[in-house]
């Protein structure tokens, strides 16, 4: 089980041949849209969903009736037909939902891309809307209970009676193990949230715009669930994001620079639970991120050194930092040293990350804001723009079945 991960050798002998991949270089993201990100929107999720979708359609220069496909999360609380009817999308011929929460952030892109690549549909809109700050919070034990107890997932029965009830704690267990095995220090971890908060200072849409923190602020911030401090946690947000996927051929006739999908991949390795990935030979790493990354590099025929900028799904700092190792931006166990001082992950550094502020400092829209920022880096319109971006990577939630994309310039 997980021999490939343990030996760090990704086999390609039985995987689908790269030249048969219908998504690679043939599909693009052509429109992006979002609402304001706030902590108390006084709005419902339908309102925010349709506003962000309208913005994406306008951004692409399309009409509502052009959109004939829709893609969303299974955990979204909205009923898709209501969204379609509210928007007046009268030509929908393809709909799909992807499971696994934040792990699906790039899987929706992949499914939409597969649908347009096969000719099932022309333009697919992908969206996520949530009232995480003022409505139901996924990270809270008490609101989680009703939702999760209905899930057909036996391991919850072995966790909940012990008060082990929140994603933060589930991740803290593998995080502490990672710190223990590689001697990662609290000081090192702090550089991730500090650099992301710096990025948010240039992004007026970021929740923490205008509220910088120093490394000392991080060190002095309260512990929520040891080993995770307040500033290690993502920012609960009200907001919505949407983007539109179509073929590269159609994209070239539209008004925006296309962000071409060079590769898209999903992963669901053995013993994958929701963060509680404890039955694996190794729990100090993110096995699902490694598999998604390996598949992305295999399809794209590039390596980590070729990636110019990366948006790494970071629901808590450690979930982003360990991805640096699993995606090959540094050696295994070296990410603590790699981010020390922050320069390697700042704009201008070895691999600039989460340039909009990421899930810790921009917003927590289950990774959709990261996809949009990945597109901006290709367009050259980020508020923390990296020079001469050719390849822009985005990943999805770690600790769950995951996904990723590599975007490139046309």
């Amino acid at each position: 089980m997980l021999d490939e991960y343990v030996s760090r050798k990704y086999r390609d002998d039985w995987r689908p041949p790269v030249d048969a991949n219908l998504i690679k270089n043939k599909v693009a993201i052509v429109g992006i849209g979002q609402t304001k990100f706030t902590r108390d929107s006084q709005r419902d999720e339908l309102e925010m969903a349709v506003e962000s979708i309208k913005a994406a359609v306008d951004d692409a220069g399309l009409k509502m009736e052009d959109i004939d496909g829709m893609e969303m999360f299974t955990i979204d609380r909205l009923a898709m037909p209501m969204v379609i009817s509210t928007l007046g999308m009268k030509n929908i011929r393809f709909t799909s939902e992807v499971s696994f929460g934040g792990g699906a952030a790039c899987a929706v892109t992949m499914h939409a891309a597969a649908a347009v690549a096969t000719g099932a549909t022309n333009y697919v809109v992908c969206f996520r809307s949530l009232n995480e700050a003022s409505g139901q919070r996924y990270g809270r034990g008490d609101s989680y209970a009703d939702y999760m107890l209905k899930a057909v997932t036996p391991h919850y029965g072995y966790h909940w009676p012990f008060g082990f009830v929140t994603p933060l704690a589930w991740a803290g267990v593998w995080g502490k193990r990672w710190m223990h095995e590689f001697g990662i220090t609290r000081e090192q971890i702090g550089w991730w949230p500090v650099v992301l908060r710096e990025n948010a200072q240039n992004n007026p849409n970021a929740i923490y715009h205008g509220r910088p923190i120093t490394h000392q602020d991080y060190m002095e911030s309260p512990m929520i669930v040891d080993p995770l401090k307040l500033h290690d946690c993502c920012v609960d947000t009200d907001g919505a994001c949407a983007y539109i996927v179509t073929t590269v051929e159609r994209a070239r006739d539209l008004q925006q620079t296309p962000a071409v999908i060079l590769a898209a991949a999903q992963s669901c390795p053995m013993e994958q639970e929701i963060q509680t990935i404890y039955s694996r030979p190794v729990i100090s790493g993110l096995v699902e991120t490694w598999y998604a990354g390996q598949e992305l590099y295999r399809i794209a025929e590039v390596g980590p050194d070729d990636i110019d900028v990366a948006q790494l799904y970071d629901p808590y700092s450690i979930g982003g930092i360990i991805q640096l190792e699993e995606l090959g931006f540094c050696e295994r166990g070296e990410s603590g040293r790699f981010i020390e001082g922050g320069d390697n992950i700042r704009v201008g550094g070895k691999i600039p990350v989460n340039t909009s502020g990421g899930l810790l400092s921009e917003a927590y829209i289950h990774g959709f804001n990261l996809v949009i920022e990945g597109v901006r880096q290709i367009r050259g319109t980020s508020t923390n723009q990296v020079d001469n971006v050719e390849l822009s990577m985005v990943t999805a939630g770690p600790g769950v079945p995951s996904s990723g994309i590599i975007l490139r310039k046309d």
Binding site: A145, P154, G157, F162, H180, V225
Partner: protein, 143 residues
């Protein structure tokens, strides 16, 4: 440190699993009799954790339940500084124990303070009645 439970609040206890996952039932039946049981594949001898109706290694659907020694080591843990649910009073720790059999399970420690926890410390199982209808396997430091 023993977890302090708030008696007025019901402990979140996914009772539905008996219906959805019959595989879990023998574990909890064992706990009621102060036994820590593990599911094992009858065909290839692999431990199945969490329990399941098929062995992922050999696809056999024949299992047996065998008693664990109850001894193991602290593999990792977290400490809640704020209570995430009204049934539990913070601070308290949730721990991941690696049993001698190689199986890892989530639990709590009894009579140990969070600051005394150390990865690798030897532990053994003990059973604690935490509510009228709920006994849980917990762990104490090995004497």
């Amino acid at each position: 440190m023993t977890v302090e439970y708030n008696a007025e609040q019901k402990i979140p206890y996914p009772a539905l699993w008996h219906v959805l996952y019959r595989s879990s039932t023998p574990f909890w039946d064992g706990v009621k009799e102060d036994k820590l049981l593990l599911q094992k594949c009858k065909s290839c001898g692999s431990f199945l954790n969490p329990p399941r109706p098929m062995c992922p290694k050999c696809q056999s659907m024949e299992q047996e339940w065998v008693p664990a020694t109850g001894k193991g080591k602290l593999y990792s843990w977290v400490t809640y500084q704020e209570s995430p649910h009204p049934a539990f009073k913070a601070p308290y720790s949730a721990v991941l124990i690696e049993l001698e059999e190689g199986v890892r399970i989530v639990s709590n420690m009894v009579k140990v303070k969070p600051e005394e926890l150390q990865i690798g410390m030897p532990v053994q199982v003990t059973f604690e009645k935490v509510a009228e209808d709920l006994i849980l396997p917990k762990f104490e430091t090995m004497s």
